[in-house]
Symmetry: C2
Subunit: 178 residues, 2 copies
Amino acid sequence: MMVRITLDMDDVMADTNGKLIDIVLNEFNTNHSREDFRKKSFKELLHPKQQKKLHTYIQQPGFFKNIPVMQGAVETVTELANYYEIYIATAAMEFPNSFREKYDWLQKHFPFIPWNNVVFCGDKSVIASDYLIDDHIKNLVSFRGKGILFSAPQNLKETSYQRVNNWAEIGDLFLPKT
Amino acid sequence: MMVRITLDMDDVMADTNGKLIDIVLNEFNTNHSREDFRKKSFKELLHPKQQKKLHTYIQQPGFFKNIPVMQGAVETVTELANYYEIYIATAAMEFPNSFREKYDWLQKHFPFIPWNNVVFCGDKSVIASDYLIDDHIKNLVSFRGKGILFSAPQNLKETSYQRVNNWAEIGDLFLPKT
């Protein structure tokens, strides 16, 4: 049986945080820079009212449509697919408006991943996979295989999981060196 | 850790076949009765052209909206939820139009199942669960836990899995006798 790697979408394959930072810089009243928001979470830098406002943007139809692909993701996933079974598991149930947009986004940017290998879920404890690469500790905690933490502003202080900072590091970890 | 039972939606929780039979009896030219279609699959009773036509109905927006609940499902799942972790896994990726309709159907008929426990997938080998109750052999074959076959016209000759014919039998199998 091939080894299976399951990938989270938001802030692993898709730069969802980058899109949210754009919204904050363009629409919100803030003195923080783009760099600040890459180093600290919205929870640390925004007022609770602003956090709530940002959440309403995520729930709007269209939000998940035009999120940029994370740098190097397409190239590395293409390579990984030669050696591993690649699955995608995204916590879409929290945002029912996102279903079709997330599906179309994957078809557009990762058309080589078959639809059979895509999972929209809530809790990721239900994912049967050897590895899960995810930016949320809560997903790795409940996951039954080996969890790998993808760096994101809200998890930079976490030390309990093996960490990758970008897609180049995922390649280094999983691809043959030759 | 609580024992986890994962339920398929179509033809286990929802009487999707019943809705398809209604369509065939109302819209198609056929001499077969409702009873015939409960005993044999569409593949056995319909011409290939009719099978293809039926498939176009499934792909139409709205198809998954008003499917009847399988008899006894709500009562038995309500009881099971006292003893087991209940998850739902439905092969929604085949029908991208179905996402929101399936989500809303579950909210309407099974509002006590949290959204975290709902999975839209393709291949069910990705489901981590102790049990899977499903009417499709292919789903049970790839599943890593114990598969239970729910009777449906296309599987009545299968003998390789433990079988349940209805929700009363699921109750008999999983609920305490007292």
